[in-house]
Symmetry: C3
Subunit: 271 residues, 3 copies
């Protein structure tokens, strides 16, 4: 991928300032909203069944996240998702903790059945559990496994007919035909809560301005990964509190030059 495409998308995102409707968990609302604002998008959180259809249809993207799900919010997600589908608004889904409890796994599967999902984003365990493959999970964090995440992404994308993003040491993006691996990112991301959830919303922001969702997702991952690398570098020896704040700073600050210089993405040749 020509990394100048990523710069171009980022510039467009900041001009358009897309409204991103998030129905997300209570742990990450503040961090997600601040991350989207730093990036250059306009976040809104709205949960009530009475209004989610109205909000989703005027949004540039809808982000659904089941991190602290309950039956009421799941109902709202489905109403919002159907409204988004009807009005051509991309829906990004983060199946947090799928596999950790059967309630999460079943809810995630229900969401895939009832709403047309544009991009499904999770760690390998979550994606495997949504797709019905074997993979271990601990709480809401990925288990350790040497499974082939490229294969998992391709299989899941084909099976569920969506773009799949699997994040981990390396990140994989696939629609079953075109597949990228992004090598950007930093281990400190696992020491701050909600960095995966925010990434899902960042993918939403890129999907709001680029209808090729493989491209949009890949651009989001490269940018976010570079942001994390620079934030980690600037806060070396300071700890995860400082890293969290610097991540918000760098979402606003990383330059086009840095994208071109540090972007590390590989196209996978499928056989």
């Amino acid at each position: 991928m020509n990394q100048e495409i990523i710069s171009t998308l980022l510039k467009k995102l900041r001009v358009v300032n897309p409204l991103i409707h998030n129905i997300t968990n209570v742990v990450v609302t503040n961090f997600t909203a601040n991350g989207l604002l730093s990036l250059g998008a306009s976040p809104v959180m709205a949960y009530a069944a009475e209004e989610v259809a109205d909000m989703a249809k005027i949004a540039g993207a809808l982000v659904l996240n089941i991190g602290t799900l309950n039956s009421t919010v799941v109902e709202s997600m489905i109403i919002a998702g159907k409204s988004a589908n009807e009005h051509g608004v991309p829906v990004i889904f983060d199946p947090v903790g799928a596999g950790a409890t059967s309630y999460r796994t079943e809810t995630a599967k229900k969401m895939m059945n009832e709403v047309k999902i544009s991009v499904l984003r999770g760690n390998a365990a979550e994606i495997a559990n949504v797709a019905g493959y074997q993979w271990e999970i601990k709480g809401v964090d990925a288990g350790h496994s040497n499974g082939n995440t490229v294969e998992l992404a391709i299989l899941t994308a084909k099976k569920l007919n969506t773009v799949v993003v699997i994040t981990g040491k390396d990140d994989v993006i696939s629609d079953g035909e075109t597949t990228y691996v992004v090598h950007n990112g930093h281990p400190l991301l696992t020491k701050v809560t909600g960095t995966g959830c925010l990434l899902t919303s960042v993918i939403g922001a890129f999907a709001a301005i680029e209808k090729d969702f493989v491209l949009a997702s890949t651009a989001a991952l490269v940018y976010y990964g570079i942001v994390a690398e620079i934030a980690a570098d600037k806060t070396a020896h300071e700890g995860p509190g400082s890293f969290q704040i610097e991540l918000l700073n760098q979402l606003a600050l990383v330059s086009n030059d840095e994208i071109v210089k540090y972007g590390n993405v590989e196209k996978i040749e499928q056989v």
Copy 2:
């Protein structure tokens, strides 16, 4: 306004350490509580219908915010509001996103009808929508408009019989008779989520110790605006993450000298 009044009110606030009962949205709870603590107030969040009347009546002020409203929390807001009214506790209302969905607009109007509101605080679009005037809105952020916010504040204050605070590039405070414009503040406030919601709670803290709500609101806006200016100055080139943290710092640190030196408030002569 003699800016030493603001210093005097702030000193009083810190001696009294008023209990501020917030029924607010899930995005800003933490930031609001920390901002109130930094300022010198004592925040409490309580939402359950079973207890909000008890909590509101012992509070110095009640702050209602519909940023992530649902039918259950709206019911609690009305119970709390009626209890506050009955016990002489000022009620500050932030109609987040009024105009963005009809559910928010109708809920905001219902709140104005069922609870006596001491201060109504929003951006121009939200205030106009609550009052039934035309104004554009995008999500929960103000639309762009060249409308006359001073006129809007005065008309709304008279129509709804409350003190109105409209925030934006300049801030307007009016009860329909006495009107101030505050020129303090900083554009970075729009890059951090919940800065408007926290301001509403800061108004609550001043209203808890000063029953002239025009004066209390104006003092709150001048102080908050100066806090933002100094925080922006101290974090120049660092980004919105650092600004957010410095805002919390400066809420505790801004001195009486700085209030007198930087306060920029103008009394409007009405014709």
Copy 3:
């Protein structure tokens, strides 16, 4: 207490990386999760009645916090608590605001009756209200009192048959037989929301790896107190925003040498 025990427990905690299931209030979710991650534990928040039994039984500890309670979440807490009891998972309970409203007091007492609590953690007013003793409270903060917190802790531990932790200027830990007072900590902890709630979760993390809950709680309090002291020292003159972030940093950074050097804990001889 030999302070090298604390280092040893901390090392074990970081190797085990225990899963801590929190059912906590909406103000502190993010801060709690980040604090646990910094410490070296693995936080999960799950609230739905449909899944809390499943999540609690795989956790290393369950932390219940009624800071923004409602009837739905209280029901989930009891389901989760019973599941934890059944599977030998320690339950840590933080009765936020007990005494401030009768709903909180009654709910806290109900929790003590229906769930076997391993450690009860609160300020003096909260603990006294749960145990049915007289103590004043203001909102969710402790009132001022010269009551004897050591006596209160011992009496409550015997009466309620649990380990009691009372935090304040000094912290007391007692099971009714063995009692410690910890002199670590810093007044700035009262200027950041959720520092008590996070402490409760940190006790949960130590309880997950040490079944002597007096020892586990004392280690947690000493460590947390030292973290606060160092964070306050590093952010002197910066304000509570910076202190909050440095607290998250130091939870990851405080060394074994610092624990031995700064730990200040006293065993109380009972008569």
